[in-house]
Symmetry: C2
Subunit: 280 residues, 2 copies
Amino acid sequence: MAADAEFAAPGPLGIIAGSGGLPRRVIESCRAAGREVFVLALEGEADRAAVESVPHAWCRIGAAATALDLLRANAVGELVLAGGVRRPSLAALRPDWQAAKILARIGYRALGDDGLLTAVVKELEREGFRVIGADQLLDEAALPEGPLGRVRPDPDAEADIAHGMRLARAIGALDIGQAVVVQQGFVLGVEAIEGTDGLLRRCASLRRDGPGGVLVKVEKPGQEKRADRPVIGPQTVILAAESGLRGIAAEAGATLVLDRDEVVRLADAAGIFVVGVGSG
Amino acid sequence: MAADAEFAAPGPLGIIAGSGGLPRRVIESCRAAGREVFVLALEGEADRAAVESVPHAWCRIGAAATALDLLRANAVGELVLAGGVRRPSLAALRPDWQAAKILARIGYRALGDDGLLTAVVKELEREGFRVIGADQLLDEAALPEGPLGRVRPDPDAEADIAHGMRLARAIGALDIGQAVVVQQGFVLGVEAIEGTDGLLRRCASLRRDGPGGVLVKVEKPGQEKRADRPVIGPQTVILAAESGLRGIAAEAGATLVLDRDEVVRLADAAGIFVVGVGSG
Protein backbone atom coordinates (compact mmCIF):
# COMPACT_ATOMS: atom_id res chain seq x y z
CA MET A 1 0.00 0.00 0.00
CA ALA A 2 1.09 3.56 -0.59
CA ALA A 3 0.83 4.40 3.09
CA ASP A 4 3.18 1.55 3.93
CA ALA A 5 5.68 2.74 1.34
CA GLU A 6 5.78 6.15 3.03
CA PHE A 7 6.12 4.38 6.35
CA ALA A 8 9.41 2.87 5.17
CA ALA A 9 11.42 6.10 5.67
CA PRO A 10 9.40 8.34 7.91
CA GLY A 11 12.09 10.11 9.95
CA PRO A 12 11.43 10.49 13.65
CA LEU A 13 7.97 9.69 14.92
CA GLY A 14 6.15 12.86 15.94
CA ILE A 15 4.35 12.48 19.26
CA ILE A 16 1.79 15.12 20.17
CA ALA A 17 1.74 14.59 23.91
CA GLY A 18 -1.29 15.36 26.06
CA SER A 19 -2.01 14.36 29.66
CA GLY A 20 -1.92 10.97 31.36
CA GLY A 21 0.45 8.04 31.10
CA LEU A 22 0.07 7.28 27.39
CA PRO A 23 2.78 9.61 25.99
CA ARG A 24 5.41 8.07 28.28
CA ARG A 25 4.40 4.60 27.15
CA VAL A 26 4.68 5.54 23.49
CA ILE A 27 8.11 7.11 24.06
CA GLU A 28 9.33 4.01 25.91
CA SER A 29 7.98 1.76 23.20
CA CYS A 30 9.82 3.74 20.50
CA ARG A 31 13.03 3.68 22.53
CA ALA A 32 12.76 -0.11 22.88
CA ALA A 33 12.22 -0.40 19.12
CA GLY A 34 15.12 1.96 18.31
CA ARG A 35 12.81 4.49 16.67
CA GLU A 36 13.68 8.17 16.92
CA VAL A 37 11.01 10.50 18.23
CA PHE A 38 10.23 14.18 18.34
CA VAL A 39 7.70 15.15 21.01
CA LEU A 40 5.44 18.15 20.74
CA ALA A 41 4.45 18.59 24.38
CA LEU A 42 1.16 20.43 24.92
CA GLU A 43 1.43 23.12 27.59
CA GLY A 44 -0.74 22.43 30.61
CA GLU A 45 -1.27 18.82 29.56
CA ALA A 46 1.95 16.86 29.02
CA ASP A 47 4.04 15.47 31.89
CA ARG A 48 7.43 17.25 31.97
CA ALA A 49 9.27 14.22 33.36
CA ALA A 50 7.97 12.01 30.54
CA VAL A 51 9.35 14.15 27.72
CA GLU A 52 12.54 15.80 29.01
CA SER A 53 14.88 12.93 28.14
CA VAL A 54 13.95 12.93 24.43
CA PRO A 55 13.97 15.62 21.70
CA HIS A 56 10.93 17.76 22.36
CA ALA A 57 9.42 21.24 22.26
CA TRP A 58 6.58 22.78 24.24
CA CYS A 59 3.66 24.29 22.39
CA ARG A 60 0.37 25.96 23.23
CA ILE A 61 -2.71 24.19 21.88
CA GLY A 62 -3.72 27.35 20.02
CA ALA A 63 -0.34 27.73 18.29
CA ALA A 64 -1.06 25.56 15.28
CA ALA A 65 1.35 27.35 12.91
CA THR A 66 4.22 26.95 15.40
CA ALA A 67 3.29 23.32 15.90
CA LEU A 68 3.35 22.56 12.17
CA ASP A 69 6.67 24.43 11.77
CA LEU A 70 8.23 22.48 14.65
CA LEU A 71 7.09 19.15 13.23
CA ARG A 72 8.44 19.95 9.76
CA ALA A 73 11.72 21.41 11.12
CA ASN A 74 12.26 18.11 12.88
CA ALA A 75 11.57 16.07 9.73
CA VAL A 76 8.46 14.44 11.14
CA GLY A 77 6.33 12.64 8.56
CA GLU A 78 4.44 10.26 10.80
CA LEU A 79 2.51 11.39 13.85
CA VAL A 80 0.76 9.92 16.85
CA LEU A 81 -1.63 11.76 19.18
CA ALA A 82 -1.17 10.40 22.69
CA GLY A 83 -2.87 11.43 25.91
CA GLY A 84 -5.75 13.60 26.93
CA VAL A 85 -6.44 17.15 25.82
CA ARG A 86 -9.00 19.33 27.53
CA ARG A 87 -10.48 21.63 24.94
CA PRO A 88 -9.62 25.12 26.13
CA SER A 89 -12.11 27.96 26.10
CA LEU A 90 -11.79 30.27 23.13
CA ALA A 91 -10.36 32.93 25.46
CA ALA A 92 -7.61 30.61 26.71
CA LEU A 93 -6.94 29.17 23.24
CA ARG A 94 -5.50 32.42 21.79
CA PRO A 95 -5.46 30.86 18.31
CA ASP A 96 -2.64 31.87 15.97
CA TRP A 97 -3.48 32.47 12.28
CA GLN A 98 -3.23 28.79 11.43
CA ALA A 99 -5.43 27.73 14.34
CA ALA A 100 -7.91 30.50 13.54
CA LYS A 101 -8.09 29.26 9.94
CA ILE A 102 -8.74 25.71 11.12
CA LEU A 103 -11.35 26.87 13.63
CA ALA A 104 -13.08 28.96 10.97
CA ARG A 105 -13.25 25.88 8.78
CA ILE A 106 -14.60 23.46 11.37
CA GLY A 107 -16.67 25.84 13.48
CA TYR A 108 -15.79 26.12 17.14
CA ARG A 109 -19.13 26.06 18.89
CA ALA A 110 -20.72 23.10 17.19
CA LEU A 111 -18.02 20.72 18.34
CA GLY A 112 -17.69 18.53 21.38
CA ASP A 113 -14.29 17.20 22.37
CA ASP A 114 -14.56 14.32 20.02
CA GLY A 115 -15.62 16.34 17.01
CA LEU A 116 -12.62 18.62 17.61
CA LEU A 117 -10.16 15.73 17.76
CA THR A 118 -11.54 14.21 14.60
CA ALA A 119 -11.12 17.58 12.90
CA VAL A 120 -7.53 17.93 14.17
CA VAL A 121 -6.62 14.53 12.74
CA LYS A 122 -8.13 15.54 9.39
CA GLU A 123 -6.18 18.82 9.41
CA LEU A 124 -2.91 17.02 10.13
CA GLU A 125 -3.56 14.68 7.23
CA ARG A 126 -4.42 17.62 5.02
CA GLU A 127 -1.01 19.08 5.94
CA GLY A 128 0.63 15.89 4.69
CA PHE A 129 1.28 14.00 7.91
CA ARG A 130 0.45 10.35 8.36
CA VAL A 131 -1.50 9.97 11.61
CA ILE A 132 -1.39 6.61 13.36
CA GLY A 133 -3.03 5.30 16.53
CA ALA A 134 -1.06 4.91 19.76
CA ASP A 135 -2.22 1.30 19.93
CA GLN A 136 -0.32 0.53 16.73
CA LEU A 137 2.88 1.34 18.61
CA LEU A 138 2.18 -0.54 21.83
CA ASP A 139 2.21 -4.29 22.42
CA GLU A 140 -0.68 -6.08 24.09
CA ALA A 141 -2.33 -2.78 24.77
CA ALA A 142 -5.96 -3.55 24.02
CA LEU A 143 -8.19 -4.80 26.84
CA PRO A 144 -9.20 -8.41 26.11
CA GLU A 145 -12.65 -9.78 26.80
CA GLY A 146 -13.12 -11.24 30.29
CA PRO A 147 -11.42 -10.55 33.64
CA LEU A 148 -7.80 -9.36 33.58
CA GLY A 149 -6.91 -10.40 37.11
CA ARG A 150 -8.11 -12.86 39.75
CA VAL A 151 -11.36 -11.14 40.76
CA ARG A 152 -14.54 -11.66 38.74
CA PRO A 153 -17.77 -9.66 38.90
CA ASP A 154 -20.64 -11.39 40.72
CA PRO A 155 -24.19 -11.30 39.29
CA ASP A 156 -25.00 -8.00 41.08
CA ALA A 157 -21.89 -6.40 39.62
CA GLU A 158 -22.76 -7.86 36.20
CA ALA A 159 -26.12 -6.10 36.42
CA ASP A 160 -24.41 -2.80 37.25
CA ILE A 161 -21.99 -3.34 34.35
CA ALA A 162 -24.82 -3.97 31.88
CA HIS A 163 -26.71 -0.90 33.11
CA GLY A 164 -23.54 1.20 33.02
CA MET A 165 -22.68 0.07 29.49
CA ARG A 166 -26.08 1.16 28.25
CA LEU A 167 -25.81 4.55 29.96
CA ALA A 168 -22.16 5.17 29.04
CA ARG A 169 -22.93 4.53 25.37
CA ALA A 170 -25.78 7.04 25.55
CA ILE A 171 -23.54 9.60 27.30
CA GLY A 172 -20.91 8.99 24.65
CA ALA A 173 -23.41 9.43 21.83
CA LEU A 174 -24.15 12.87 23.28
CA ASP A 175 -20.37 13.58 23.16
CA ILE A 176 -20.39 14.32 26.91
CA GLY A 177 -17.91 11.75 28.21
CA GLN A 178 -16.80 8.12 28.18
CA ALA A 179 -17.58 6.86 31.64
CA VAL A 180 -20.18 6.38 34.36
CA VAL A 181 -20.11 4.93 37.87
CA VAL A 182 -23.05 2.72 38.80
CA GLN A 183 -23.72 1.26 42.25
CA GLN A 184 -26.65 -1.09 42.87
CA GLY A 185 -28.48 0.24 39.85
CA PHE A 186 -27.87 3.90 40.78
CA VAL A 187 -25.82 6.33 38.75
CA LEU A 188 -23.31 7.80 41.22
CA GLY A 189 -21.69 9.95 38.58
CA VAL A 190 -21.32 10.76 34.91
CA GLU A 191 -18.00 11.80 33.40
CA ALA A 192 -17.96 15.16 31.67
CA ILE A 193 -15.04 17.56 31.48
CA GLU A 194 -13.47 16.45 34.76
CA GLY A 195 -12.27 13.20 33.18
CA THR A 196 -12.29 9.68 34.60
CA ASP A 197 -9.89 10.43 37.45
CA GLY A 198 -12.03 13.38 38.58
CA LEU A 199 -15.17 11.26 38.34
CA LEU A 200 -13.62 8.53 40.50
CA ARG A 201 -12.43 11.01 43.14
CA ARG A 202 -15.84 12.56 43.63
CA CYS A 203 -17.59 9.19 43.74
CA ALA A 204 -15.73 8.45 46.98
CA SER A 205 -18.12 10.75 48.87
CA LEU A 206 -21.23 9.72 46.91
CA ARG A 207 -21.13 5.98 47.48
CA ARG A 208 -23.93 4.20 49.32
CA ASP A 209 -23.67 1.47 51.93
CA GLY A 210 -23.49 -2.09 50.72
CA PRO A 211 -21.66 -3.54 47.71
CA GLY A 212 -19.58 -0.88 45.94
CA GLY A 213 -20.05 0.51 42.47
CA VAL A 214 -18.49 -0.17 39.11
CA LEU A 215 -16.67 2.19 36.76
CA VAL A 216 -17.87 1.55 33.22
CA LYS A 217 -15.91 3.10 30.37
CA VAL A 218 -16.68 2.86 26.66
CA GLU A 219 -15.62 4.26 23.35
CA LYS A 220 -17.83 7.08 22.13
CA PRO A 221 -19.76 6.02 19.03
CA GLY A 222 -17.92 7.35 15.98
CA GLN A 223 -14.93 8.28 18.14
CA GLU A 224 -11.70 9.08 16.28
CA LYS A 225 -9.74 5.97 17.24
CA ARG A 226 -6.36 7.56 16.56
CA ALA A 227 -6.95 10.47 18.90
CA ASP A 228 -8.84 9.59 22.03
CA ARG A 229 -9.41 5.92 22.73
CA PRO A 230 -10.60 5.03 26.22
CA VAL A 231 -7.65 4.24 28.47
CA ILE A 232 -7.33 2.49 31.81
CA GLY A 233 -4.11 2.20 33.75
CA PRO A 234 -2.65 1.81 37.24
CA GLN A 235 -3.99 5.22 38.30
CA THR A 236 -7.52 4.17 37.32
CA VAL A 237 -7.25 1.07 39.53
CA ILE A 238 -5.81 3.02 42.47
CA LEU A 239 -8.56 5.66 42.36
CA ALA A 240 -11.32 3.08 41.84
CA ALA A 241 -10.15 1.17 44.91
CA GLU A 242 -9.84 4.36 46.98
CA SER A 243 -13.39 5.34 46.02
CA GLY A 244 -14.78 2.04 47.26
CA LEU A 245 -15.63 0.60 43.85
CA ARG A 246 -15.78 -3.15 43.31
CA GLY A 247 -14.37 -3.02 39.84
CA ILE A 248 -13.80 -1.55 36.43
CA ALA A 249 -15.48 -2.64 33.21
CA ALA A 250 -14.48 -1.31 29.82
CA GLU A 251 -15.09 -2.13 26.21
CA ALA A 252 -12.90 -5.01 25.10
CA GLY A 253 -10.78 -4.26 22.04
CA ALA A 254 -11.54 -0.54 22.05
CA THR A 255 -9.86 0.21 25.40
CA LEU A 256 -6.10 0.64 25.86
CA VAL A 257 -4.57 -0.82 29.02
CA LEU A 258 -1.46 1.00 30.20
CA ASP A 259 1.03 -1.15 32.12
CA ARG A 260 -1.10 -4.25 32.19
CA ASP A 261 1.07 -6.12 34.71
CA GLU A 262 0.80 -3.28 37.20
CA VAL A 263 -2.95 -2.97 36.57
CA VAL A 264 -3.39 -6.68 37.37
CA ARG A 265 -1.12 -6.52 40.42
CA LEU A 266 -2.93 -3.49 41.88
CA ALA A 267 -6.41 -4.87 41.12
CA ASP A 268 -5.62 -8.24 42.70
CA ALA A 269 -4.09 -6.54 45.74
CA ALA A 270 -7.16 -4.33 46.17
CA GLY A 271 -9.58 -7.19 45.51
CA ILE A 272 -11.32 -5.43 42.62
CA PHE A 273 -12.06 -6.69 39.14
CA VAL A 274 -10.97 -5.29 35.77
CA VAL A 275 -13.04 -6.81 33.03
CA GLY A 276 -13.30 -6.38 29.27
CA VAL A 277 -16.84 -6.46 27.95
CA GLY A 278 -17.60 -7.47 24.36
CA SER A 279 -19.58 -5.03 22.31
CA GLY A 280 -22.00 -7.73 21.14
CA MET B 1 -65.59 16.31 40.95
CA ALA B 2 -65.40 13.47 43.43
CA ALA B 3 -61.84 14.34 44.33
CA ASP B 4 -62.90 17.87 45.19
CA ALA B 5 -65.71 16.53 47.35
CA GLU B 6 -63.20 14.50 49.35
CA PHE B 7 -61.04 17.59 49.59
CA ALA B 8 -63.83 19.36 51.50
CA ALA B 9 -63.11 17.61 54.82
CA PRO B 10 -59.67 16.09 54.57
CA GLY B 11 -58.34 16.48 58.14
CA PRO B 12 -54.77 17.70 58.47
CA LEU B 13 -52.62 17.74 55.37
CA GLY B 14 -49.95 15.05 55.57
CA ILE B 15 -46.54 16.33 54.45
CA ILE B 16 -43.87 13.75 53.72
CA ALA B 17 -40.82 15.97 54.11
CA GLY B 18 -37.54 15.34 52.31
CA SER B 19 -34.54 17.63 51.91
CA GLY B 20 -34.27 21.20 50.66
CA GLY B 21 -36.45 24.25 51.22
CA LEU B 22 -39.73 22.95 49.81
CA PRO B 23 -41.16 21.35 53.01
CA ARG B 24 -40.77 24.61 54.92
CA ARG B 25 -42.53 26.50 52.14
CA VAL B 26 -45.45 24.08 52.16
CA ILE B 27 -45.73 24.28 55.96
CA GLU B 28 -45.69 28.10 55.83
CA SER B 29 -48.28 28.14 53.07
CA CYS B 30 -50.62 25.87 55.10
CA ARG B 31 -50.12 28.03 58.19
CA ALA B 32 -51.02 31.15 56.19
CA ALA B 33 -54.16 29.39 54.88
CA GLY B 34 -55.12 28.11 58.34
CA ARG B 35 -54.77 24.49 57.27
CA GLU B 36 -53.64 21.94 59.87
CA VAL B 37 -50.67 19.76 58.96
CA PHE B 38 -49.01 16.58 60.11
CA VAL B 39 -45.42 16.20 58.93
CA LEU B 40 -43.74 12.86 58.41
CA ALA B 41 -40.09 13.93 58.47
CA LEU B 42 -37.72 11.57 56.66
CA GLU B 43 -34.60 10.79 58.69
CA GLY B 44 -31.42 12.04 57.07
CA GLU B 45 -33.36 14.26 54.66
CA ALA B 46 -35.74 16.69 56.37
CA ASP B 47 -34.57 19.90 58.03
CA ARG B 48 -35.19 19.71 61.78
CA ALA B 49 -35.78 23.45 62.14
CA ALA B 50 -38.45 23.44 59.44
CA VAL B 51 -40.64 20.82 61.12
CA GLU B 52 -40.21 21.22 64.88
CA SER B 53 -42.85 23.95 65.30
CA VAL B 54 -45.66 21.81 63.83
CA PRO B 55 -47.08 18.35 64.63
CA HIS B 56 -44.60 15.88 63.21
CA ALA B 57 -42.90 12.51 63.59
CA TRP B 58 -39.57 11.25 62.28
CA CYS B 59 -39.50 8.12 60.18
CA ARG B 60 -36.92 6.02 58.34
CA ILE B 61 -37.50 5.73 54.60
CA GLY B 62 -37.60 1.95 54.92
CA ALA B 63 -40.25 1.99 57.67
CA ALA B 64 -43.29 2.03 55.41
CA ALA B 65 -45.64 0.28 57.88
CA THR B 66 -44.75 2.80 60.62
CA ALA B 67 -45.24 5.64 58.16
CA LEU B 68 -48.71 4.48 57.14
CA ASP B 69 -49.69 3.93 60.81
CA LEU B 70 -48.51 7.43 61.72
CA LEU B 71 -50.43 9.04 58.87
CA ARG B 72 -53.64 7.17 59.76
CA ALA B 73 -53.26 7.80 63.51
CA ASN B 74 -53.12 11.52 62.71
CA ALA B 75 -56.26 11.37 60.55
CA VAL B 76 -54.41 12.27 57.36
CA GLY B 77 -56.42 11.75 54.17
CA GLU B 78 -54.59 14.06 51.84
CA LEU B 79 -50.85 13.96 51.32
CA VAL B 80 -48.10 15.96 49.70
CA LEU B 81 -44.54 14.78 48.99
CA ALA B 82 -42.18 17.73 49.38
CA GLY B 83 -38.43 17.87 49.03
CA GLY B 84 -35.68 15.61 47.82
CA VAL B 85 -35.12 11.98 48.75
CA ARG B 86 -31.91 10.17 47.94
CA ARG B 87 -32.78 6.57 47.29
CA PRO B 88 -30.88 4.63 49.96
CA SER B 89 -28.95 1.50 49.20
CA LEU B 90 -30.80 -1.71 50.02
CA ALA B 91 -28.43 -2.21 52.96
CA ALA B 92 -29.23 1.21 54.45
CA LEU B 93 -32.93 0.92 53.66
CA ARG B 94 -33.64 -1.90 56.19
CA PRO B 95 -37.17 -2.31 54.80
CA ASP B 96 -39.92 -3.28 57.25
CA TRP B 97 -42.53 -5.84 56.13
CA GLN B 98 -44.63 -3.20 54.38
CA ALA B 99 -41.66 -1.71 52.55
CA ALA B 100 -40.44 -5.20 51.61
CA LYS B 101 -43.87 -6.01 50.18
CA ILE B 102 -43.84 -2.79 48.12
CA LEU B 103 -40.30 -3.43 46.93
CA ALA B 104 -41.16 -6.98 45.95
CA ARG B 105 -44.04 -5.62 43.90
CA ILE B 106 -42.14 -2.90 42.09
CA GLY B 107 -38.70 -4.51 41.87
CA TYR B 108 -35.79 -2.70 43.46
CA ARG B 109 -33.04 -2.95 40.90
CA ALA B 110 -34.91 -1.90 37.79
CA LEU B 111 -35.79 1.50 39.17
CA GLY B 112 -34.11 4.85 38.99
CA ASP B 113 -35.07 7.59 41.44
CA ASP B 114 -37.97 8.66 39.35
CA GLY B 115 -39.37 5.20 38.86
CA LEU B 116 -39.24 4.71 42.62
CA LEU B 117 -41.08 7.97 43.37
CA THR B 118 -43.79 7.16 40.85
CA ALA B 119 -44.20 3.78 42.52
CA VAL B 120 -44.38 5.36 45.99
CA VAL B 121 -47.15 7.71 44.85
CA LYS B 122 -49.08 4.75 43.42
CA GLU B 123 -48.67 2.82 46.68
CA LEU B 124 -49.95 5.74 48.74
CA GLU B 125 -53.00 5.98 46.48
CA ARG B 126 -53.53 2.25 46.75
CA GLU B 127 -53.56 2.72 50.54
CA GLY B 128 -56.37 5.24 50.15
CA PHE B 129 -54.54 8.56 50.40
CA ARG B 130 -55.11 11.42 48.01
CA VAL B 131 -51.70 12.62 46.78
CA ILE B 132 -51.40 16.21 45.58
CA GLY B 133 -48.51 18.23 44.16
CA ALA B 134 -46.66 20.79 46.26
CA ASP B 135 -47.32 23.37 43.55
CA GLN B 136 -51.07 23.09 44.22
CA LEU B 137 -50.38 24.48 47.69
CA LEU B 138 -48.01 27.28 46.76
CA ASP B 139 -48.83 30.59 45.07
CA GLU B 140 -46.88 31.82 42.06
CA ALA B 141 -44.59 28.86 42.36
CA ALA B 142 -44.09 27.87 38.74
CA LEU B 143 -41.25 29.47 36.76
CA PRO B 144 -42.76 31.66 34.02
CA GLU B 145 -41.31 31.89 30.51
CA GLY B 146 -38.66 34.58 30.06
CA PRO B 147 -36.20 36.23 32.47
CA LEU B 148 -37.22 36.51 36.14
CA GLY B 149 -34.89 39.36 37.05
CA ARG B 150 -33.05 42.17 35.31
CA VAL B 151 -30.33 40.16 33.56
CA ARG B 152 -31.04 38.49 30.22
CA PRO B 153 -28.98 35.85 28.44
CA ASP B 154 -26.94 37.11 25.47
CA PRO B 155 -26.77 35.11 22.21
CA ASP B 156 -23.79 33.05 23.45
CA ALA B 157 -25.65 32.13 26.61
CA GLU B 158 -28.75 31.35 24.54
CA ALA B 159 -26.66 28.87 22.55
CA ASP B 160 -25.46 27.22 25.77
CA ILE B 161 -29.06 27.09 27.04
CA ALA B 162 -30.30 25.42 23.85
CA HIS B 163 -27.45 22.89 23.93
CA GLY B 164 -28.02 22.27 27.65
CA MET B 165 -31.76 21.77 27.18
CA ARG B 166 -31.15 19.10 24.58
CA LEU B 167 -28.60 17.31 26.77
CA ALA B 168 -30.57 17.65 30.02
CA ARG B 169 -33.64 16.11 28.37
CA ALA B 170 -31.52 13.19 27.18
CA ILE B 171 -29.97 12.75 30.65
CA GLY B 172 -33.47 12.89 32.13
CA ALA B 173 -34.77 10.31 29.69
CA LEU B 174 -32.04 7.98 30.98
CA ASP B 175 -33.33 8.68 34.54
CA ILE B 176 -29.86 9.89 35.57
CA GLY B 177 -30.59 13.44 36.70
CA GLN B 178 -32.32 16.72 35.87
CA ALA B 179 -29.49 19.14 35.24
CA VAL B 180 -26.33 19.92 33.28
CA VAL B 181 -23.86 22.82 33.30
CA VAL B 182 -22.71 24.01 29.87
CA GLN B 183 -20.02 26.63 29.22
CA GLN B 184 -19.20 27.80 25.70
CA GLY B 185 -20.61 24.61 24.22
CA PHE B 186 -18.79 22.34 26.67
CA VAL B 187 -20.44 20.13 29.24
CA LEU B 188 -18.78 21.01 32.55
CA GLY B 189 -20.89 18.57 34.49
CA VAL B 190 -23.90 16.28 34.52
CA GLU B 191 -26.10 15.87 37.58
CA ALA B 192 -26.42 12.36 38.92
CA ILE B 193 -26.86 11.36 42.54
CA GLU B 194 -25.04 14.38 43.98
CA GLY B 195 -27.99 16.66 43.14
CA THR B 196 -27.99 20.14 41.67
CA ASP B 197 -26.20 21.77 44.61
CA GLY B 198 -23.40 19.20 44.42
CA LEU B 199 -23.15 19.68 40.65
CA LEU B 200 -22.83 23.45 41.05
CA ARG B 201 -20.17 23.14 43.78
CA ARG B 202 -17.91 20.94 41.68
CA CYS B 203 -18.30 23.10 38.58
CA ALA B 204 -16.49 25.91 40.42
CA SER B 205 -13.17 24.15 39.82
CA LEU B 206 -14.01 22.95 36.29
CA ARG B 207 -14.85 26.26 34.67
CA ARG B 208 -12.84 27.65 31.77
CA ASP B 209 -11.68 31.19 31.16
CA GLY B 210 -14.04 33.52 29.38
CA PRO B 211 -17.82 33.85 29.69
CA GLY B 212 -19.19 31.58 32.42
CA GLY B 213 -21.49 28.61 32.06
CA VAL B 214 -25.19 28.07 32.45
CA LEU B 215 -27.08 25.68 34.71
CA VAL B 216 -29.87 24.06 32.72
CA LYS B 217 -32.54 22.12 34.62
CA VAL B 218 -35.49 20.26 33.16
CA GLU B 219 -38.24 17.92 34.15
CA LYS B 220 -37.46 14.30 33.39
CA PRO B 221 -39.75 12.98 30.66
CA GLY B 222 -42.60 11.09 32.30
CA GLN B 223 -41.57 12.41 35.72
CA GLU B 224 -44.12 12.01 38.52
CA LYS B 225 -45.12 15.67 38.87
CA ARG B 226 -46.45 15.23 42.39
CA ALA B 227 -43.22 13.82 43.75
CA ASP B 228 -40.13 15.39 42.30
CA ARG B 229 -40.57 18.46 40.15
CA PRO B 230 -37.45 20.43 39.34
CA VAL B 231 -36.91 23.19 41.90
CA ILE B 232 -34.77 26.31 41.95
CA GLY B 233 -34.45 28.61 44.92
CA PRO B 234 -32.15 31.12 46.61
CA GLN B 235 -29.54 28.42 47.33
CA THR B 236 -29.41 27.56 43.60
CA VAL B 237 -28.69 31.19 42.74
CA ILE B 238 -26.04 31.57 45.45
CA LEU B 239 -24.18 28.43 44.36
CA ALA B 240 -24.46 29.29 40.65
CA ALA B 241 -22.95 32.71 41.30
CA GLU B 242 -20.18 31.25 43.49
CA SER B 243 -19.29 28.78 40.74
CA GLY B 244 -18.86 31.55 38.18
CA LEU B 245 -21.95 30.75 36.14
CA ARG B 246 -23.67 33.45 34.09
CA GLY B 247 -27.14 32.18 34.73
CA ILE B 248 -29.77 29.53 35.30
CA ALA B 249 -32.26 28.27 32.74
CA ALA B 250 -35.09 25.91 33.62
CA GLU B 251 -38.22 24.60 32.04
CA ALA B 252 -41.02 27.16 32.31
CA GLY B 253 -44.17 25.83 33.93
CA ALA B 254 -42.60 22.57 35.08
CA THR B 255 -40.10 24.16 37.50
CA LEU B 256 -40.99 25.36 41.01
CA VAL B 257 -39.38 28.58 42.18
CA LEU B 258 -38.93 28.80 45.94
CA ASP B 259 -38.99 32.31 47.38
CA ARG B 260 -39.19 34.08 44.05
CA ASP B 261 -38.52 37.55 45.47
CA GLU B 262 -35.30 36.39 47.08
CA VAL B 263 -34.29 34.52 43.92
CA VAL B 264 -34.72 37.73 41.89
CA ARG B 265 -32.93 39.87 44.47
CA LEU B 266 -29.93 37.51 44.66
CA ALA B 267 -29.72 37.04 40.89
CA ASP B 268 -29.85 40.79 40.21
CA ALA B 269 -27.24 41.44 42.92
CA ALA B 270 -24.92 38.78 41.44
CA GLY B 271 -25.57 39.91 37.86
CA ILE B 272 -26.76 36.50 36.69
CA PHE B 273 -29.91 35.57 34.81
CA VAL B 274 -32.71 33.20 35.79
CA VAL B 275 -34.80 32.36 32.78
CA GLY B 276 -37.78 30.12 32.09
CA VAL B 277 -37.61 28.31 28.77
CA GLY B 278 -40.73 27.13 26.99
CA SER B 279 -40.91 23.48 26.06
CA GLY B 280 -41.91 24.27 22.46
